[in-house]
């Protein structure tokens, strides 16, 4: 064992898998590979894992994806809410791209194939050892650094949860109030409402905590969360958010493009393969799904021609209206807005 490992406290690692034989092999192998540097706890059910977590603080939880009653994705989400500092990894025999994305969105730092050979166990051990040794220095802590504040909000909204997201960045504490999946209110220093929300979403570092819901002092946000998150992404890409962070006073007093009042007139959210999950005021869901698939196909073609990386979304500007179509492996989203008539 090297000196660094000798000098540190033993790591507490929790493995959750409904296969006791696999857990037995895993426990013995990793105990040897860690040279007694890991204390390995095994649970054959989520309930048993939660009981262990109540008694012992863990450095890492490694969760099987396919478990009866409560699957790995649901369990990861639950762990994220109860133990936000706990690092989480999914270990699975087979994961589709969609499942993999769901695991990452639910807070997993890594999604790893189950090992079947001595070399496989060594590789998995090296990955887990690297993960628990890693300390965040910049960016968000824990799942936020890997998954992003937007993903946490999206998870809360899609699950129709109620919570308050407290975001700490330096001396500034921001709060985002979510009730039954709707964003009601946000504060960030002296800013409130959409301006505060957009600024919090533009942060590039900090930490957050999900705390139990409490009624906000007022409701300052009416827009649909899908549009709000897309608007934030657009602002971040265009660098407007950086300007807002540097010139917060000006941002609070000067209307920008994002404050032009709009009405969301159509919303559609689909799974990655086009299965509609939610829609509002969408006259022809099938036509929209087809449009989203066409966009994804055309974007893939463009991505082959230019070195711009993975596609995220297309924004379309029409006279007095705008539409945003997002195509990611795990979801397809379409939002259409129209400008509100100017008040006389």
């Amino acid at each position: 064992m090297d000196n660094t490992k000798k000098n540190r406290a033993p790591r507490q690692i929790l493995f959750v898998d409904d296969d006791p034989d696999f857990l037995g092999v895993l426990k013995e192998t990793f105990r040897m590979l860690s040279e007694e540097g890991w204390v390995i706890h095994c649970a054959t059910s989520p309930k048993m894992a939660l009981d262990l977590l109540k008694r012992q603080r863990m450095d890492l939880a490694v969760v099987d994806l396919n478990m009866p009653l409560l699957d790995g994705v649901q369990f990861l989400s639950l762990l994220g809410k109860r133990y936000s500092d706990l690092k989480k990894v999914t270990l699975t025999s087979f994961a589709t791209e969609e499942k993999r994305s769901q695991c990452l969105a639910a807070g997993a730092e890594l999604v790893i194939e189950k090992p079947h050979s001595p070399d496989g166990f060594k590789s998995v051990f090296a990955m887990l050892e690297d993960l628990i040794s890693w300390e965040p220095q910049q960016g968000f802590q824990g799942m936020l650094r890997r998954v992003g504040l937007q993903d946490v909000i999206q998870m809360e909204c899609l699950g129709r949860n109620s919570s308050v997201l407290e975001v700490q960045n330096g001396q500034v504490l921001g709060r985002i109030y979510i009730e039954d999946g709707s964003i009601l209110h946000a504060t960030d220093g002296k800013l409130t409402g959409e301006a505060a929300l957009q600024r919090l979403l533009a942060l590039t570092g900090g930490s957050f905590e999900l705390v139990p819901f409490e009624k906000p002092p007022e409701r300052t946000i009416e827009g649909q969360w899908e549009f709000l998150l897309m608007e934030a992404a657009r602002m971040r890409d265009e660098g407007a958010a950086q300007t807002a962070a540097a010139e917060s006073k000006a941002a609070a007093e000067t209307p920008s493009v994002s404050t032009v009042p709009v009405d969301v007139v159509e919303t559609l959210i689909c799974s990655g393969n086009g299965e509609p999950l939610y829609h509002a005021d969408c006259a022809d869901v099938n036509a929209r799904v087809e449009l989203l698939k066409q966009i994804a196909g055309q974007a893939a073609h463009l991505a082959q021609m230019l070195p711009l990386g993975k596609f995220d979304r297309v924004e379309m500007q029409f006279p007095g209206a705008r539409a945003i179509a997002q195509a990611r492996p795990d979801r397809l989203v379409f939002v259409r807005t129209v400008n509100q008539p100017a008040s006389s």
């Binding site: 890409d237 265009e238 493009v257 196909g297 711009l308 990386g309 297309v314 029409f318």
Partner: protein, 116 residues
């Protein structure tokens, strides 16, 4: 190529962060200002020519937008089409001066005096 198109393309439409920009006139003639060798003129020409297919595939049930911005993790492509048939494609790096200037340049292009 129209006289005023090329100076506008090289002088105005290339702020820092621009990877390439190209103009296609209604008769199919093309001019490109490639800043990065990873975005060669031939590719921009192909993309602009491809815009017909793209628009036909994507905007079957609705009008073609004044402009569209295709955002990728490292950059954006802005397509603008004028009623007279002129087309503009701007390829920029994300979070750059060029990305911030997309709307301004698009509006300039829409009102630029260009021959048909």
């Amino acid at each position: 190529m129209n006289d005023s198109a090329l100076p506008w393309l090289t002088d105005r439409a290339s702020p820092p962060g621009t990877l390439a920009c190209g103009l296609r006139r209604p008769d199919g003639n093309f001019v490109c200002h490639s800043v990065e060798e990873t975005c060669p003129a031939a590719t921009i020409e192909e993309i602009l020519a491809h815009f017909d297919l793209l628009a036909a595939a994507v905007f079957t049930e609705q009008p073609v937008p004044d402009w569209s911005t295709w955002s990728f993790e490292k950059g954006q492509i802005r397509f603008v089409e004028r009623p007279d048939g002129w087309r503009l494609a701007l390829v920029v790096r994300s979070e750059s001066d060029a990305a911030l200037a997309l709307d301004v340049l698009s509006l300039e292009f829409l009102s630029l005096p260009l021959e048909i």
